[in-house]
């Protein structure tokens, strides 16, 4: 995975509240990524950033109709691909 976009968010942690991204891959140890996949963080799935803890970390993400809190350090390992509509508008 080469970070090719500079302005567009490339990981979940860069999404602002209310923004959505499509998950591309999970750059995490096998057991953690399996656990996250079971909760809905599957490549191809849309993830929306929701609220966060008062300090800004951990953050809550909306996926498959449920809300899951992740620490920022974990969210930074979940890469997203630019939404197709955004790419077309480019």
């Amino acid at each position: 995975m080469q970070p090719s976009f500079t302005s567009r968010p490339s990981t979940l942690v860069e999404l602002r509240e209310g923004e959505q991204g499509v998950l591309d891959c999970l750059d995490l140890p096998d057991d953690v990524s399996r656990r996250l996949m079971e909760l809905g963080f599957v490549p191809g799935n849309a993830v929306t950033a929701a609220r966060s803890a008062p300090g800004g970390d951990p953050r809550v993400f909306r996926v498959d109709g449920s809300e899951i809190a992740l620490r920022c350090e974990t969210a930074a390992r979940l890469r997203i691909r630019p939404a197709p509509s955004a790419a077309a508008a480019d």
Partner: protein, 632 residues
Amino acid sequence: MSDCDRCTIAGVLQNRATTNGSGTRSIAIVGPPNSGKSTLFNRITGLRQKVANYPGVTVERRDGRARLEDGREVTIIDLPGIYSLTPRSEDERVARDVLTGNMPGVPRPDGVLLILDSTNLSRHLVLAAPILALGLPTLVVLNMADDLRERGGEVDTEALSQQLGAPVILASAMRGEGLEPIWRFLAEHGTAPSPAELPAIEDIPKCRAWAARVGQRASYQPPGPPEMTRKLDAIFLHPVIGPLIFGVVVVLVFQSIFSWARPMMDGVQWLVTWSGAQVGELMPPSVLRSLLLEGVWRGVGSVLVFLPQILLLFLFIGILEDSGYLARAALIADRTMARVGLQGKSFIPLLSAYACAVPAILATRTIENKRDRIATILIAPLMTCSARLPVYTLIIAAFLPERPLLGPLLGTRAAAMLGLYVLGFAAAVATARLLKSSILKSERSAFVLEMPPYRRPTLRSLGLRLLDRSKIFLRRAGTVILGVAVVLWVLAHLPLSGGMAPPIEQSLAGSIGRAVEPVIEPLGFNWKIGIGLITSLAAREVIVGTLGTIYGMEPDAGSLGLQQALRQDLSPAGAVSLLVFFAFAMQCMSTIAVVRRETAGWKWPLIQFAYMSALAWAGAFLAYRITNALLA
């Protein structure tokens, strides 16, 4: 990262138990976390429940019995919440072993109740694949139907049933709606499911694609967003208001433990004293009477007093958990807890530990990361539990004159008490850091927390929870504490001299006190305190009763109050040292017992006991020396 738990089925001793011949059917309840599994279990079994642990693991085993209309009984097994049957966590391994009939002592269930959250089917349906593949008769219960309906979701249960090859129903376990088919399922012998297709169950993306396909064919319409939850989160997770509410909740829990529980605790105390006096009147003075009153009544009574506190605490935790706020509290606390290497889910157990380490350790079950859980268990007893209060109160009152420090706000005694709370907390934080940077080091990123929608807690669920916890607590008071109380009484009354109990000094307890004197002398304690330290191994507050007994038995000190008597035997430096000793020492059989149970072995309780004893000795030694130097 160690992954040692990945033992193969073949490696485990096979103890294949098939359907038992006695004719009692057993049905397992399976479902993902937050699917309402336990609510359904409580609905079906009511008060006929039994909680234990599966052998060799820390997973809670929860069995119950459901009584059918015709009077027959069915055993219901509530399996831990799981997302898959891939045996990676202990929970998943237990679920898999039970469902395949490989769990020693548990016959293979005759059927499965698969509970899925109907508002979250795209995710929950994934679990259906491995469960249906087991080939056991299965009833698929789409729970929280009320929520689905209210939020405008839909699903065609007929079509879903055809896809899965098993009956599917919509129900609400919390409201008790649509449960009749469950009772029918419990009564009859179902047939093995015949799903239209099943994915490769190891491959999560394929399983999800399958679930999406199945959901689509059943015209599943996911519900709209939970508006109420969003609105409440805007308040509870607000950058400013959120932490304020969190603070209020914490203070409320504290207040309930220390103030509101007080009248009830006094009531229990009165009841124990009164019933003891009644028993005393009924019996002529004899050895048996003395054993009953001074051993059993005093020993068990000193622990029963904490029941109201524990119940109140669990009532609060129950409300927080059932309402969904607990997950938000864990989220808010996570950053602070992360600084000492722990995580948000450790917060509530540690808060509970201010009442009693035993419920705190039971509350660590919500922490999935095993290392974080053990670290939390290990530091919980350093928090100032309420059993330390009688000890602190006695010593502070005996040695520290009350003087105002901050006007009427804070006096010297309250300040000393506060200082001891801070001391325990600091020791816990330092220990957590030490553990998490050494033997319990783990990846910090493992914190994953599902935020369930807010729900109104039901009295039924809260009541069952309280009943459950008090049963565990009372069982312990009735066994461990009772045993220790009796043993102590015997030691204090032997050897008999001329048919009479000897003076405490010449009793076996006295000899033991003298034997340990060399070890505790550097801390400023004599043999009498030594006996107190040994008896308080049962429970901290026992030392107060023991000292009372010891001084009561000494004719010379008999007329002096306990505080005065203490002042004769303990120097001011010795008093400080004793306080520090109690702040750190693991003087509590119940905690040791519950840690052994929860960690499934003697390793952790022994490490914990050794560590805390060493810390207590070293801390008391330093406190003694420093105070002496300061007072000289």
